[in-house]
Amino acid sequence: MNLRNAHYVSLTFLSIGLILTAGPLVWMVITAFTSPDALAATPPRYGEFSLENFKVLLSAGSILRWTINSFLVSAAVTLAQTIFNSLAAFGFSVGRFKGRESIFMILLAAMMVPGQIVMLPLFLFMAKWGLIDNLWSVILPAMAAPFGIYMVRQYMDSIPLQMSEAAQIDGASELQIFTRIYFPLSMPILATSGIFTFIAQWNAFLWPLITLNSEKYYTLTVGLSTLQDQQIMDFGLLMAGATLAAVPMVIVFIFFSRYMLEGMRKGAIQ
């Protein structure tokens, strides 16, 4: 009886907490699907279902383009990071060259640098080389991430060295050892870090905001913030935009939640 009560008490608490943390998102969806007239009325009649906000938003056109841009950028960054990070992680994990640990430590130190501090010089020098205001300006600086290298290396360190030694004896090159043994074996951690990279890039805001000028290159976050600037009081429209931006991440979460939850657990244990 006592146990049962405790069960219900915790369910109640969890539900209240859920209303508080997920509430804003629910409110976003409700507003997005309420007809503009109902929203403008005093008092507003929330929940009067209509797709009007989405129609207006999609007819304005750009949001589809921004979504595609966000997808291209996130996919390119994820792909590049998976390749470069895993290659570097392999080099650091298996390589026996001079200065290996010191280079690795310097890379790790880079993890502490807050993004905002390098933003300004980075912008100036990329502008100098004509690298701003296109999707590359967002992709290039994110192509390799010390944190990713660190995570993958930790994982590769746990792969027994005997495997690569045996392959070496069989005449495999280092590249083959990487592609045939280490890369496939590291799949779980690569999937996890890939998903997190994708989400982080999808949500990136400050750097794209600074470097993208043309509307046709906006990513979704930048586009939405300009939408907020333009349609200051049209909350139905804004919430429809926000909903559209959140949906792909929810889908990613539903499909990959196993990897994500697993990855977080692994990260925690290390």
Binding site: T21, L25, F84, L209
Partner: protein, 760 residues
């Protein structure tokens, strides 16, 4: 006959020749068309054409098409700006050499000083010159040269709601003129009408609903000059005619005292210093709760079409015989310099085309006044616009100097502070005066030249990376080859800019002043009141939000840990889910919830009969709203880490506790919580590191306002770099933040090492 044939032949030969010539010319022009010039134009959102819901660029796109049709071989590429970030974007683009051919706005003093703008005098025909109103061309004139094609003139007006005046039995000002005393008196009468119970204190406390009724709304924000004439109505000004600071003059202070008096009389709300134009507009135009408010010319259109109101435009209060001094602005298009003369010429043609008299007739949709005579009187049948035109004849312009934005920001913040009762006006205005004088003392100079020099270091790193690759290839060390790409990328996009930021922090490097190495940036950071507020706020944020988040995660994880099966997976997923949404998305929702007039929170408060709260407009509340939005976010990642750690706690401990008869809470408090200590420390420290960098949330919720009450460190780093172009100061502040994060990271290392020893 033969002769004639010969003549014909000769003629036809001539024709042939002519045709050949024509073909060659045509061919030339066609081949020119093949290489096609693409002009870049940037523009702000304008009016909504009839039938449009969202697109405020229809007119511009149509005009571009017309221009392209008139000039074959020319393409025009439009970049759409926003009113909020457009100016910043233009500045960034200009300084980094990434500017368009044609850009919109008022006279671009900053760019003119940087020598980036082409004067139009050469391209301005006598006809054009005669057609333009002299004042319009004058507005674009700097040192005898004209730097832009004026398009429209506008300004700010005082609007009154005639219905409220009538029902309160108060006369509208005669000919729209009133002195400050008359204005106060009329407002007080309306106030008495709106909340008649105010005089008896007991009734006032009982009848809380009427307390929100103020007859007047004011707002003082940067880039908003609409309400400055109120402060200047006793003859004061911020910058006097000689270009000297006059914000601490008796006349100007009298203006502030007068507004403060209005606040004490409850004619304006107590948080007027933090109100935004939007708040006041909603109350005046949409909900018709205010008797008076100052807005741009656009108000006339809005209150004629979309929000029909019985309104009048009137003069700002002024002493008898003095001009009412509303602020005017002339906007147009200017052309950036380019070594390609043909391009400049085309850009000039485009700018001229857009501002021709016949195009200016379309300004009737925009409710702005044309700048050319040939546009004719497009507002002949519009009573309000005609009245506005008369009022504008007594108007004034803001201080025409490229340093005005910095001055504006300093002075606005001082005005806000003194209206909020934080400081007495004299002190606030004197202090801001000190900073304005410093801004004014700095002489002009160019940074765009220096910027182009600054990337040699990056080149060095790129070359080193290449050499490393070559070395790795030569030495045939496969592993070395593998790490070079990632290490080079990190070097180029992280270590190089870091090194550059370090250098910048120790350099005198800001707009108008590019100098040698100095420590002054750190001293200036220390003396920068906004940075100090930012530091305090950021610390407050970290100390409140991080423990709250970690505690929530701990409680939620503990409760979920006790569940089984599907319920467990459901709650785990549901709590994690909001965490995958971007800060931008979440912040948009929070803005909607916090909205003063129509947001959910205030609607709920009103429904319960309580006073609405200025969640984002009241400076004493705004930062707590930011904190609330920080606390009520998904405990996602932290919760999962806790869950993982809980799974590692051996069951035997709980069984032992069961034997001793401990209840669930005691077990949790004495076993679970202490054993999770390491995880808690880890989460706290990483949380603090993240919280110290809070930015996007604040930028989108409040942009640091009202009255700087929500400044945070990274926002200050951002604004000082990209709005004030004070790169040295920005880097110095970023470095201070970096140092703080470094210290915390080292502490974390220390802790986690202990943790490892403990586990071993």
């Amino acid at each position: 006959m033969k002769n004639s044939i010969a003549i014909i032949l000769r003629q036809s030969r001539l024709k042939l020749l002519l045709t050949a010539l024509l073909i060659t010319i045509l061919h030339c022009s066609v081949s020119h068309a093949a290489e096609e010039i693409t002009l870049k134009i940037w523009d702000f959102p304008r009016w909504l054409e009839p039938g449009e819901n969202t697109d405020r660029f229809t007119w511009m796109n149509r005009k571009i098409k017309e221009f392209e049709a008139q000039n074959p071989g020319v393409k025009v590429d439009l970049t759409k700006l926003t009113w909020q970030r457009g100016h910043e974007k233009l500045k960034i683009a200009a300084v980094s050499g990434n500017y368009p051919d044609v850009a919109p706005g008022v006279v671009p003093l900053l760019f003119i000083r940087e020598n980036l703008i082409e004067p139009i005098d050469e391209y301005l025909s006598g006809e054009d010159r005669a057609d333009y109103f002299p004042a319009a061309l004058k507005a674009f004139e700097v040192k005898g040269k004209t730097y832009g094609w004026p398009w429209y003139m506008g300004g700010q007006l005082l609007y009154v709601n005639a219905d409220i005046f009538a029902s309160a039995g108060v006369e509208l000002p005669v000919e729209g003129r009133w002195t400050p005393e008359e204005f106060t008196q009329k407002m007080a009468q309306i106030k008495a009408y709106l909340s008649p119970t105010e005089s008896t204190p007991a009734a006032a406390t009982q009848n809380t609903k009427t307390q929100g009724h103020y007859p007047l709304g004011l707002y003082f924000q940067k880039d908003e000059t609409a309400n400055l004439p109120f402060l200047m109505c006793f003859g004061g000004s911020i910058i006097d005619r000689d270009g000297k600071y006059a914000g601490d003059s008796e006349e100007f202070l009298k203006g502030i005292k007068w507004i403060n008096q209005l606040r004490e009389m409850q004619i304006i709300p107590p948080d007027s210093g933090g109100r935004s134009a939007n708040d006041i507009w909603t109350a005046f135009g949409r909900e018709k709760r205010l008797a008076a408010g100052a807005f741009g010319l656009w108000g006339i259109k809005a209150m004629t079409d979309k929000f029909p109101t019985n309104f009048e435009v009137v003069h700002y209060p002024a002493q008898p015989g003095q001009p009412s001094g509303s602020f005017l602005g002339t906007s147009g298009f200017y052309v950036f310099k380019n070594s390609d003369k043909k391009r400049v010429k085309l850009a000039m043609q485009l700018a001229r085309f857009l501002t021709l008299g016949e195009q200016q007739r379309d300004l009737v949709h925009y409710t702005q006044f044309p700048t050319r005579n040939s546009a004719g009187n497009i507002y002949a049948d519009n009573r309000h616009m005609t009245a506005a035109w008369k009022i504008f004849q007594e108007g004034q312009s803001v201080f025409a100097d490229s340093r005005w934005p910095q001055i504006d920001e300093e002075v606005t913040s001082a005005i806000q502070q003194s209206l909020l009762g934080r400081f007495d006006p004299l002190t606030a205005m004197r202090e801001s005066g000190e900073r304005v004088k410093r801004v004014l003392s700095v002489e002009s100079g160019s940074i765009s030249e220096d910027v182009s020099k600054s990337s040699y270091f990056a080149l060095v790193i790129a070359i080193i990376s290449l050499l490393a690759m070559v070395f790795a290839l030569l030495s045939r060390q496969a592993h070395l080859i593998m790490i070079v790409p990632a290490v080079s990328l990190t070097g180029l996009f992280l270590f190089y800019p870091l090194a550059d930021a370090l250098l910048l922090a120790f350099r005198d490097y800001r707009i108008g002043e590019v100098g040698g190495y100095t420590l002054a940036n750190f001293i200036r950071a220390w003396n920068d009141p906004r940075f100090i507020i930012a530091c305090k706020n950021t610390m407050l944020y970290s100390f409140l939000v991080v423990p709250a988040n970690v505690f929530t995660a701990l409680v939620v994880a503990s409760l979920i840990h006790g569940l089984r099966g599907k319920t467990k997976s459901f709650f785990r997923a549901a709590y994690y889910l909001p965490g995958v949404a971007s800060v931008v998305v979440l912040t948009m929702v929070w803005r909607w919830l916090f909205n003063t007039e129509v947001g959910l929170f205030n609607s709920t408060l009103r429904w319960f009969g309580m006073n609405p709260i200025g969640w984002l407009s009241d400076p004493s509340v705004a930062f707590f709203s930011v904190i609330i939005s920080g606390i009520l976010k998904s405990p996602g990642g932290a919760m999962l880490i806790y869950l993982a750690s809980m799974a590692n706690i051996p069951n035997s401990l709980y069984e032992a506790a069961d034997l001793e008869g401990a209840d669930a809470f005691k077990k949790w408090w004495h076993i679970t919580v202490p054993l999770l200590g390491g995880t808690t420390t880890f989460l706290m420290i990483t949380g603090v590191i993240a919280a110290l960098q809070v930015f996007a949330q604040v930028l989108m919720l409040t942009d640091g306002g009202p009255g700087n009450s929500t400044q945070v460190v990274v926002l200050r780093v951002y604004t000082s770099a990209f709005r004030d172009f004070d790169f040295g100061l920005s880097s110095a502040m970023a470095l201070i933040l970096f140092a703080a994060i470094m210290v915390i990271t080292i502490i974390q290392r220390r802790f986690s090492r202990q943790e490892v020893e403990y586990l071993a």
